[in-house]
């Protein structure tokens, strides 16, 4: 679940109309400040920790930044590539579920029939309480 969260945490801002590239070097060198990392860590509950993780993030941003090369002036954004399709309506019948065993196989830890997650959104240590970060 957390791996997924990390992936979404990185991917989603890039997909939006404005990524957080504005917070990075405007020249597009993709260097990220410690504040941005901390903000992301709080949002995604993931400790980037290592220099490699940050480097990977910087590369992902640089990759997505190429979208800015496309001239979209005066083009109304689509909501989805399916926006002119009918939205299918399903009848209110129970046809799924009862597969806890299969789903729980994905879990790193299980207690009875529950997934086990780290304790709730407990804020990570504040920036100034942390060890000096290599990038700052």
């Amino acid at each position: 679940m957390l791996a997924r969260a990390l992936w979404l945490g990185l991917r989603v801002p890039l997909g939006g109309p404005r990524g957080f590239t504005s917070k990075t070097d405007p020249q597009g060198s993709g260097r990220i400040t410690a504040e941005v990392i901390e903000h992301l860590e709080r949002l995604a509950l993931v400790d980037f920790g290592s220099r490699e993780a940050v480097a990977r993030l910087e590369k992902a941003i640089a990759f997505a930044d190429r979208l800015r090369a496309v001239d979209t002036d005066g083009v109304e954004p689509m909501e989805s590539v399916l926006e002119d399709r009918c939205l299918y309506l399903r009848s209110d019948n129970v046809v799924e579920g009862n597969c806890a065993d299969e789903l729980l196989q994905n879990s790193h830890r299980v207690v009875e029939e529950y997934f086990v997650a780290p304790p709730g959104n407990i804020p990570l240590p504040k920036l100034d309480e942390q060890e000096p970060f290599p990038h700052s």
Binding site: M1, R4, A5, L8, G9, V12, P13, G15, G16, H39, R42, L43, A44, L45, E79, S80, V81, L82, E83, D84, R85, C86, L87, Y88, L89, R90, S91, D92, N93, V94, V95, E96, G97, N98, C99, A100, L103, L104, N106, R109, V111, E112, E113, Y114, F115, V116, A117, P118, P119, G120, N121, P123
Partner: protein, 557 residues
């Protein structure tokens, strides 16, 4: 899951003011521009009508509170909003979860028709404009019980907007009238519920149950037109009754089917609105009222002591009866809303726009849903007032207790007694006994038929009203006896033998010559004493009206 923040601008709006420090909230000042003073009773605080030109004097301790609510109601449906797994309370953990609910890669949302119909129905019942086109969005936040990392909601264009909810505040016990009030409904949006987290602080872990993840919710956003806990509680209660009448939500707060967040601020009338706090997850109507009133008072005393109000989320501590800061939003949350790419716009139709030859399973006709709307609580109450001539307040009480209206109607069907008498017995005696033992109507030991029979005995003057109360008490003991059996066993019938009654009156008058003298001297209350004595002599089995008549005849002769 917090909804998009309410907008607080409302420049042109005139706020009705709750006189927070002057007594309970419905004793309120007249709205702007009106000079009539509608404060009831004793309020010592002068309520000056609020004109924009009239600035409140400095140091005058008058505050107005502004309350807005966001209400989440779980849709009553067989399956979830976007998946075919079952909706059920208290099932084994993770047994009602599909691959989509667990957010496995490659799964896609498929919209449940029933949930859309429930939203349209609720929107119509709340006088909303139904948007023929509405859109789904993703709202991102990271929490272990939200496996996708986002919730599908309706942020940009919700299914229903601009409605109103009318509710009634009691004008006071004496007059039995109810003051109608209205709160605007900003919007109703369809969205997914999250799963549930069980926190195990000891072992520093969280247990996740996804059974609730993906259940359809109606988020009803009310404009900040409320001004105290009682108003908020009454409005939510009315919404609850409407949802239950529609069948769109069971709206049981104890089971989390109805959850309320309140946005609260205070300000001096005529000045800009104050900083608001949000009190989260209020899950009983009583606590809702308490939490809001506490929070209003807390903000007032904070400000009066020179403090400031932080824009923060607070939770209500049920045992201590106060709100405490949750300290979870130190920085403003960024939900990174984006259009949901897997769901095209939701289109609805009416009789005029319905495409010909469309698959009826695939189109939703707003007009058709409007025709199937059941009687709403406000209409039911009006009918009760019209049909039975009862006080508006009594019609509110009948609807407020689950099953009480049905009980009342069943009694009415079987008894010859006057509606007024039945109302009085059901609301005073029957409800009183239930309340005293904390029972629901369905748990009552007295059936509607038994009460109907008892009221018939009373109506035909077979028993006195004090004897009727005695019979009711016997019925409450669940001994399986009918009122008729109890009356004859306990010899509670009124004395019908006039000769015997005359004899009793005669001997009482003979034994109390002093009282008789008082009557003859013109003391109007003395006759009551004689009546009481005769009743006592007959073991309460005589009709006081008949006794009075006989006594008057004997005294005048």
């Amino acid at each position: 899951m917090a909804a998009p923040m309410l907008r607080w601008g409302c420049r042109g709006r005139r706020w009705a003011l709750a006189c927070v420090d002057g007594g309970s909230c419905h004793r309120r000042g007249a709205p702007t521009g009106s000079t009539s003073n509608r404060i009831r009773g004793q309020s010592s605080v002068a309520q000056q009508p609020l004109h924009t030109a009239q600035k409140p004097r400095k140091g005058e301790h008058k505050w107005a509170a502004v309350v807005g609510l966001e209400i989440h109601a779980q849709i009553s449906s067989n399956s979830k909003l976007f998946s075919g797994s079952q909706v059920r309370f208290s099932a084994p953990p993770n047994s009602l979860v599909s691959f989509f609910d667990a957010s496995l890669p490659g799964t896609l949302p498929v919209l449940n028709r029933r949930c859309v119909e429930a939203a349209v129905m609720t929107g119509l019942a709340l006088n909303c404009h139904i948007n023929k086109k509405s859109l789904f969005d993703r709202k991102h936040y990271f929490y272990a019980d939200l496996p996708a990392g986002y919730q599908i909601t309706q942020h940009r264009l919700p299914i229903a907007v601009n409605g109103s909810l009318t509710y009634g505040i009691s004008a006071g016990k004496e007059c039995g009238q109810v003051i109608p009030k209205m709160v605007r409904v900003k919007q109703i949006q369809l969205e997914q519920d999250s799963g549930k987290s069980l926190h195990d602080d000891l072992r520093s872990q969280t247990l996740i149950d996804l059974n609730r993840a993906g259940v359809g919710l109606l988020e009803v956003v009310l404009e900040p037109d409320l001004s105290c806990g009682e108003e908020a509680a009454t409005a939510v209660r009315e919404l609850q009754l409407i949802l239950q009448a529609l069948g769109t939500s069971q709206a049981n707060m104890a089971e989390g089917q109805l959850r309320v967040d309140a946005n609260i601020s205070v300000h001096h009338p005529g000045e800009p609105l104050g900083v608001r706090t949000e009190v989260k997850n209020l899950n009983s109507i009583r606590f809702l009222a308490k939490a809001i009133d506490y929070e209003i008072q807390r903000q007032i005393s904070e400000l009066e002591n020179g403090g400031e109000i932080l824009n923060e989320t607070r939770s209500f501590h049920e045992k201590l009866g106060c709100t405490v800061s949750m300290r979870d939003k130190e920085a403003k949350q960024d939900y990174r809303f984006m259009p949901e790419p897997n769901l095209p716009p939701l289109l609805l139709y009416d009789a005029t726009s319905l495409p010909t030859g469309a698959d009826p399973q695939q189109v939703i006709n707003i007009d058709q849903i409007r025709e199937t709307l059941p009687e709403l609580p406000s209409v039911t109450r009006e009918r009760l007032v019209q049909q039975y001539g009862m006080l508006p307040e009594h019609s509110f009480t009948l609807l407020n207790e689950v099953g009480l209206l049905e009980f009342f109607q069943n009694v009415m069907k079987e008894t010859r007694a006057e509606p007024k008498k039945v109302t009085s017995w059901v609301l005073n005696i029957f409800l009183g006994y239930l309340k005293q033992e904390n029972l629901a109507v369905s748990e009552s030991p007295v059936t509607p038929s038994a009460l109907a029979e008892l009221l018939d005995l009373l109506d035909s003057r077979t028993i006195s009203s004090s004897a009727a109360k005695q019979v009711f008490e016997e019925l409450w003991k669940r001994e399986g006896k009918t009122p008729g059996q109890i009356v004859s066993e306990k010899q509670l019938e009124l004395m019908q033998d006039r000769g015997a009654l005359e004899q009793f009156c005669y001997s009482v008058m003979k034994d109390h010559p002093q009282v008789v003298m008082d009557v003859k001297k013109g003391n109007p209350r003395a006759i009551n004493k004689l009546i009481g004595l005769v009743r006592k002599a007959t073991l309460n089995r005589a009709d006081p009206a008949v006794i009075k008549e006989i006594l008057e005849k004997q005294l005048s002769s």
